[in-house]
Assembly symmetry: C2
Homo-oligomer: 310 residues x 2
């Protein structure tokens, strides 16, 4: 690994999102959650992010979020770094979530700007203020720039926020044409950054590496296959990095465009990591054809998730 790069920022490498498993009756499978985390640590990830959108955070109750935060932090037990997602429209609901994550030793909290539904979207002042308020909790914040919020976060606003909000030192950019935005932000505030990351299943990883990211928030489907792309890139072995990236891209593309957050659950069930690929209503599990195509990929690529519990 290129030491110069890895020293430039505090955090680097693969930080996948943990999926949230459910029982067939719709209840959270807490024991399965622990097995997901063990499997991810065996994937040799640098960090784990919980309660993200790929974790179906929008289908969880407040109580379940709190229980999952406590259980995951205890189970991970410092073996890898941790990010706890705490987004909510109300700052007063974000704050206790951030305080809990900090008290349990999380490294970073992740937040989208305040949004609700299709129409309630924080304006620049409201966005700045929510992050500035939560910064007072005293834990590093990763701002998540994702289309789900419906909010456009322009580079000047992000630059101002990163430069002026004490604990806002990490970003995950997964909006359209992510690499250009990442490049601009690194140019504008590299001194302040602890973790310039991309996300969205690492579907834009190679372009984002060229733009200067230090890490990627993929899913937990195949992080052990994505990690060498980053390693070779940093070792100035770009040809190797690109070759591996091009090799895994068809699977990532299939995950990103055909499956979404159901991909990891489907393969983890087949691989004996979790008992069920149940998705809470109104989400259905993958249809049989898509599932079979995905499992063919998983077998062909020899994924750890496909064999971990067998």
């Amino acid at each position: 690994m290129n030491l110069e790069l890895s020293n430039q920022y505090k955090y680097y490498g693969m930080w996948p999102v943990a999926p949230t498993p459910f029982h067939e009756n719709g209840e959270v499978d807490y024991e399965g959650m622990e097995r997901v985390l063990d499997c991810m640590i065996d994937q040799k990830v640098q960090g784990i992010c919980i309660l993200a959108n790929y974790s179906e955070q929008f289908l969880l109750s407040d109580d379940e979020r709190e229980k999952l935060t406590k259980l995951c932090m205890k189970k991970i037990d410092g073996r890898v770094k941790t990010i706890v997602t705490v987004s909510h429209f109300a700052t007063d609901i974000v704050r206790p979530r951030a305080e809990l994550a900090k008290s349990l030793g999380a490294d970073i909290i992740m937040m989208m700007p305040p949004y609700h539904g299709a129409l309630l979207k924080g304006n620049p002042d409201q966005i700045f203020e929510q992050f500035n308020e939560i910064s007072k909790v005293g834990i590093r914040i990763m701002i998540q720039d994702a289309p789900l919020s419906g909010i456009e976060l322009p580079v000047p606003l992000l630059t101002k926020m990163i430069n002026e909000i004490e604990y806002l030192t990490c970003f995950k950019i997964e909006s359209t044409q992510a690499a250009s935005k990442i490049r601009a932000l690194i140019k504008n505030c590299s001194e302040r950054l602890d973790a310039p990351f991309d996300g969205e299943e690492s579907i834009t990883l190679y372009a984002d590496l060229e733009a200067g990211i230090s890490g990627s928030m993929s899913s937990a489907l195949l992080p052990e296959k994505i990690a060498p792309v980053i390693d070779h890139f940093w070792n100035n072995e770009k040809d190797k990095a690109e070759k591996i990236y091009n090799h895994i891209l068809p699977l990532i593309n299939f995950e990103n465009r055909q499956c979404g957050f159901r991909a990891t659950k489907t393969v983890m069930k087949e691989g004996g990591v979790i008992k069920s690929d149940f998705c809470r209503d109104p989400i259905k599990p993958l249809d049989e054809d898509t599932k079979n195509l995905l499992l063919n990929f998983a077998k062909r690529y020899d994924l750890l998730t496909y064999k971990w519990g067998k």
Copy 2:
């Protein structure tokens, strides 16, 4: 009141949304909540809807929703009809909210179709299924057709849902060109309907009365001033109805376009109903100019909310 009309449907009249008051420190003001309900009952409303968007449901925690549901149902104590809003993206989270409302004796639950953020929107099958599933709880459902969800609910889908889902017998239409939609729905399924309502501060009330609504979900700002519009309309005194409507329209328009859910709180604070017009971050109270213009309206129209606690 026109008996023929009032007998045609089970529910009719003014069913305003109760605002949720907060203390200056951001905590829910439960005592203030009780005063809001008493004030609304003094406005001689037929029903009260709690936890709607005008109640800032998107700024409340699960625990606060539950406490508010219990407190409001107890405080109202059968004096007027009740609607409890239970919307959530996850059907498994909607269900216990619906069961709680039923167990406490609510007349109706209100639900938007499943949505989260700008991009997660139930498709027609998912929407149908969530309502069909919740119908099994056995309490009348009002489907709320509001732009906030970002979901377009076309007339054929709504018709099918109302005709096929046992307890879905009420609607509140507040989407663009509401009256046309209301007219079409009443034509398609009037036999099934218990409450064809409009909403959105009653800003489209007159057109919606022409289209056949039996009731309106305004805010709690001035329901006592809106009620005569409905009464005269049903008594075939359309000229009187329209004259009163045109008289109050400037205030409703100012509320709807310049204030939103902050209007009722602002006037209720001035009128001694509640102690604070605090809005949870990232929402700010009205700016001073807007507030003063609103209070001038409230005084000029001699609103009960403006004098109830003085």
